[in-house]
């Protein structure tokens, strides 16, 4: 790694560079680093915002939706004039305005079993900011197979769950082996969501992604953080590797081939 910060960068990132915990070396790691943000919605918006501001050099954004007016109450990178355009395009436009050091790779597609492994393996860190169980299980499984850490966050009305899935720690299936059957847990469109909630949760995910890239601090490995916006409480609960886990246990899978992600995301024994 060669230090090649120019004078504009020394200025832009001066509040990072001045700290021992980041310094010029840490800033260089961020500039040389890459993150795949799965979903450019409520969680993805603050993640993209802060990773781009921090100078994470290459940010992939996967989303196949277009901006809708009902998104704007919480998806803070999209603006009124963006309604109708693809979210990845709006995200790219936002980042280009914010920081010329960052390259956005816009993947206007839905993550599926045909593209997930290639996408995940191409980045240093994955941030799961998706909005459905099939994508979340697919990200967990593919990232584990390719040893890529995942900053996971998910929300429900006034509550959030955040955890970090490192290649050496327990995975999402150690905590929740299978997904609830479709229709069991209502989604945001049905239940509503407090606009600022994904801001808080997404910022925690961005924090974890930064620490993973900087290789510093203690991430939420083996810990699930519950955030309750109504009570304004944060609680962390430890969880362990499950030796019988089909993805990271003793007889772990080495391919996602054959896993049916449309229902309970079950892996056959």
């Amino acid at each position: 790694m060669s230090l090649s910060l120019d004078s504009t960068q020394l200025d832009r990132y001066s509040r990072h560079i001045i700290m021992d915990e980041v310094g010029p070396e840490g800033q260089q790691k961020l500039l040389d680093g890459s993150a795949l943000v799965v979903g450019a919605g409520g969680l993805g918006a603050p993640v993209i915002q802060y990773l781009a501001a921090a100078g994470v050099g290459r940010i992939g954004v996967v989303d196949d939706d277009v901006v809708e007016r009902s998104n704007l109450q919480r998806q803070v990178i999209h603006a009124d004039a963006d309604v109708g355009i693809p979210k990845v395009e709006s995200a790219k436009k936002f980042v280009e305005r914010l920081n010329p050091d960052v390259t956005v790779e816009a993947h206007e597609t839905r993550l599926d079993t045909d593209n997930v492994e290639e996408l995940v393996a191409d980045y240093d860190v994955v941030v799961d900011a998706s909005d459905n169980f099939p994508t979340r299980y697919m990200v967990n499984d593919a990232a584990r197979i390719h040893d890529v850490p995942v900053a996971h966050g998910a929300i429900y009305k006034f509550e959030g769950q955040v955890t970090t899935l490192t290649p050496d720690g327990p995975c999402y299936r150690c905590l929740f082996r299978e997904a609830p059957e479709p229709g069991t847990v209502p989604d945001c469109a049905t239940t509503g969501v407090l606009g600022v909630l994904p801001g808080t949760v997404g910022c925690i995910q961005a924090t974890e992604a930064m620490k993973l890239l900087l290789e510093t601090g203690d991430v939420l490995e083996g810990r699930l953080l519950f955030y309750d916006a109504m009570d304004m409480t944060f609680e962390t609960v430890p969880y362990r590797e499950n030796p019988d886990c089909p993805v990271c246990g003793e007889s772990a899978i080495d391919s996602i081939e054959g896993i049916e992600y449309s229902g309970g995301c079950t892996i056959a024994d």
């Binding site: 429900y156 509550e159 929740f176 609830p180 969501v193 609960v237």
Partner: protein, 91 residues
């Protein structure tokens, strides 16, 4: 003994905190039975067709996952805090 419920489980029970008739010496399973018999919609949500707890529902006792050790057979102490949580998927 008091249960703390998360996400849609709290909505089905009508409250985030639910007291049940279970004491030191009873098991986590006993406290769960008490909770679910008082709240049938919650029972429908967390139990499968065989009456077993669904794979994606987690039970905590004092902030530790009970399935890491004795599961629902875990014997309760006075003042234990119990919690039941599902995964959420919103983004």
């Amino acid at each position: 003994m008091e249960w703390k419920l998360f996400a849609d489980l709290a909505e089905l029970a009508g409250d985030r905190h639910v007291s049940v008739d279970a004491d030191a010496g009873d098991t986590v399973g006993d406290a769960l039975d008490e909770l679910l018999s008082a709240h049938p919609p919650l029972a429908d949500r967390v139990l499968d067709d065989d009456g077993d707890l669904r794979d994606h529902i987690n039970v905590l006792r004092n902030g530790e996952n009970v399935f890491a050790d004795d599961g629902l057979e875990t014997v309760l102490d006075g003042g234990d805090e119990l919690a039941l949580f599902p995964p959420v998927s919103g983004g």
